[in-house]
């Protein structure tokens, strides 16, 4: 994951990513190994393992059979351990079967469906996470993906069910609507930050609340309700506005997944190859220096938020044009907040965010099977996710547990620390 160009966001005094000159194969191999051990990727994997272990303890503790066996622990300890093992193993097997592949299924479609469910669930996480990642790298802690997803869903949904347009055009318009909706909503925070210096953390959080009540209000109006019904639920979007299914009607996987891949490539190009992305990163590492260097920092704030918001809005389109097909007040679920975790886990990089989104999609998809088959509360999945982030935020702890060599005092997420420190100082 070394960067080809000297990245401006590297804080002064950090170690060079990898030996760049040809110092012989051995030195290179050593460097590569060292980079792997000290890299944040290994910490990420270890954090995941640690989170699964601790969650295992919680699964066992919450299991009724384990509790029964604990009552006569000294009389027959083996019962306790076998019950605990059964509970944890059963839960994780169900999680795997619900997220990757289910060999017990009766048909081939049902057997491979879990993997496609993981991909489907990951689409909004990846899209919103990509947007948040851009913000983080530009030094803006955007908490507003939830509201931006909702706005995207409102725009896409309205275009989807209120109009009747020809096939390709309808989908295209709805998707553009979603991006515009999310982009405008986030643009409010960017504009306020650029013009008045308003803290984007506070503004985006408040905009989330406004968005939640806005969709609640809209769903109480006749324009957004189904005919002859008072329920707060919109009519389904027209068939022409739906994302086409990629694998046929047996699966929910839709075109949005390809859109997420395309968005990841676009963000990579934007941040690593374009002038604009260079400006974003420069502002992220030091806004004052960037201003001195002639970068219009206020314009960057506005653009970063609008691009991030558009991506979150696309996440909303994945919900309403892909899986849900109707607008409800819960259309965004908790994707906007989970996407923050995804972006942090993915180190705000496109590829990292993509895989982090897949991982969280898998946890979510597997969680349903875990609950249905073993009765494990679905909240345990949330605990795993939270623990992963907790450990990633504390790399020295993970390094200590797994006795990994230290990274020379370097924080595992230098880009992340910048905005956080700035917020603390503000």
């Amino acid at each position: 994951m070394s960067q080809a160009t000297p990245a401006p966001e590297q804080p002064a005094g950090s170690t060079a990513p990898a030996p760049r000159r040809d110092d012989g194969i051995e030195a290179r191999a050593q460097g590569a190994l060292r980079e792997m051990l000290t890299s944040s990727w290994l910490v990420t994997v270890c954090a995941l393992v640690l989170a699964m272990v601790i969650s295992g303890v919680l699964i066992a503790a919450a299991d009724a059979d384990v509790q029964d066996a604990a009552a006569y622990f000294f009389a027959r300890p083996a019962d306790f351990f076998s019950a605990a093992w059964d509970a944890v193993w059963g839960a994780y097997v169900a999680l795997f079967q619900g997220a990757i592949i289910d060999p017990t299924a009766s048909t081939f479609t049902r057997a491979v469906r879990p993997l496609t469910e993981t991909m489907t669930t990951s689409v909004p996480l990846i899209l919103a996470g990509l947007g948040l990642g851009i913000g983080f790298r530009a030094g803006m802690f955007n908490i507003g993906a939830q509201g931006q997803i909702i706005l995207g869903a409102i725009f896409a949904g309205y275009i989807g069910f209120a109009f009747d347009l020809p096939p390709v055009l309808h989908l295209l318009l709805a998707v553009i609507g979603a991006a515009v909706g999310g982009g405008l909503w986030a643009g409010i925070a960017g504009f306020l930050k650029a013009r008045t210096g308003a803290n984007e953390v506070i503004v985006t959080i408040m905009l989330n609340n406004i968005a939640i009540y806005l969709v609640g209000y809209l769903l109480s109006t006749k324009a957004f309700q189904r005919e002859g019904s008072n329920n707060p639920i919109s009519p389904p979007v027209g068939g022409n506005a739906e994302y086409p299914l990629l694998l046929g009607s047996g699966f929910r996987l839709h075109l949005g997944f390809l859109l997420a891949i395309a968005a990841a490539v676009f963000v990579w190009w934007l941040m690593s190859r374009s002038t604009l992305g260079f400006q974003f990163r420069a502002v992220g590492s030091n806004p004052s220096a960037a201003r001195t260097a002639g970068i219009n920092v206020n314009r960057v704030y506005l653009l970063v938020m609008m691009i991030a918001g558009s991506l979150a809005g696309l996440a909303g389109s994945a919900q309403i044009l892909g899986t849900e097909k109707v607008l409800t007040d819960g259309v965004a679920a908790s994707f906007g907040f989970d996407a923050i975790t995804v972006a942090l886990l993915g180190r705000s990089k496109p590829l990292g965010t993509f895989f982090a989104g897949l991982l969280f999609g898998a946890l979510r998809a597997g969680g349903f099977a875990m609950q249905a088959r073993t009765g494990t509360p679905i909240d345990i999945v949330l605990v795993v996710q939270s623990l992963v982030v907790l450990f990633i935020a504390a790399p020295p702890l993970v390094r200590a547990v797994f006795r990994l060599p230290s990274a020379g005092g370097r924080g595992a997420a230098p880009e992340l620390s910048a905005p956080v420190v700035k917020e603390a100082a503000a």
Partner: protein, 357 residues
């Protein structure tokens, strides 16, 4: 301080160790209890409220639990935390080879309709809403004419009120909530019409379909504050249609003294003993019984797509006894309620609500 902590930790450890000293149960083989439905798997999906909502999810789950105990069937209950969970949860139950899948609330209508169309071998039931498609042989809606019972409760409330003001409020403006409020308001209006009285209803305007809502089904403080506001305006009978939030209203009523509460869903005299002395009556909705009947019919192979409609006639809905208020409610009100009930059952009197399914 340190000593105290140490002592506490030690005694805690001892308690834990002692608690672990129970004797092991005898190994038992093949002790399957009541069967007949042993191979039957009945499943339920909650809406985003979860099974501990002290409202319809909980009532539904209790009905399923009863079926499990009495019919010896297997049950699977899954909770949804957001509307996006509905389709995957229903799908995971289909994958689990459930024979009957019950969804709680209109929110699940889309997911359950789609699953019913795709899986004709599985039976589906939906509480509080109809399915979105016609002619599904394997889909049974469980509906309740709640407004009929709320109508009677409104009549009783108006007949009992000393101040001439009664109130109602909801948690969130959903049809399953406002249907109570519609019936309540109509019942009060009927009392006014019959007796030339002028009892006013705070918190709900049936014509405009607007009224007071706390905004959620969790925050009891909101219910308490809203109820206090009504009491300050002179209300002395309050019907909170907001699950556990209603307990906040009960607390406010108890504090105020001569204010009584109309419970909803279950008989609050039984379910909330702390407030039993101020419960005038309750508007009961027998979701649990409907679920149990549906499951047992399905186990016996008698599942039908005929909608179940809970009415005063079949006791699917009703009002609870007056308990402590038996001596307070005027005799002529009691007779009038019996007459109204008979009229509703015979069809001479129709209580309407825009929220009716």
């Amino acid at each position: 301080m340190k000593k105290i902590i140490r002592a506490a930790a030690l005694s805690g450890a001892v308690a834990l160790a002692l608690a672990a000293c129970g004797s092991a149960p005898e190994e038992s083989e093949g002790s399957a209890g009541a069967d007949g439905g042993a191979d039957f798997k009945a499943c339920m999906v909650s809406d985003a409220g979860g099974f501990d909502d002290k409202s319809f999810n909980q009532s539904g789950a209790e009905g399923l639990d009863r079926a499990k105990d009495e019919l010896g069937i297997e049950e699977v209950k899954v909770e949804s935390s957001a509307p996006t969970d509905y389709a995957p949860n229903v799908d995971s139950l289909v994958q689990q080879d459930c024979n009957l899948i019950i969804g709680v609330g209109f929110n699940l209508a889309d997911a359950l309709t789609a699953a019913a169309e795709a899986n004709p071998d599985v039976e589906f039931a939906l509480i509080d809403s109809g399915f979105n498609a016609e002619g599904l042989d394997n889909a049974k809606p469980l509906l309740f004419n709640t407004q009929e019972a709320a109508y009677l409760a409104g009549y009783v409330a108006a007949g009992t009120s000393q101040t001439g003001t009664v109130a109602t409020f909801g948690g969130i403006q959903l049809p399953s909530v406002s249907i109570f409020m519609d019936g309540f308001a109509d019942g009060v209006a009927k009392y006014n019409e019959d007796n030339g009285a002028n009892v006013t209803v705070l918190g709900w305007d049936k014509e405009a379909q607007t009224g007071s809502f706390t905004g959620d089904f969790d925050n009891q403080t909101n219910g308490q504050n809203l109820a206090k506001g009504f009491i300050d305006q002179g209300a002395d009978v309050i019907m909170p249609v907001a699950g556990p939030v209603g307990l906040g209203a009960a607390a406010a009523a108890q504090e105020a003294g001569d204010v009584s509460i109309v419970g909803v869903d279950a008989d609050w005299f039984e379910t909330s003993p702390d407030y039993s002395s101020i419960i005038l009556t309750s508007v009961m909705k027998q979701i649990g019984a409907a679920v149990f009947d549906t499951v047992s019919a399905s186990v016996e192979g008698n599942f039908s797509n005929e909608p179940y409609v809970g009415t005063l006639e079949n006791d699917g809905i009703g009002i609870a006894p007056f308990h402590d208020y038996d001596s307070v409610v005027p005799a002529e009100v009691k007779t009038a309620v019996e007459e109204l009930k008979a009229q509703i059952i015979s069809g001479d009197l129709v209580v309407e609500s825009p929220s009716q399914n």
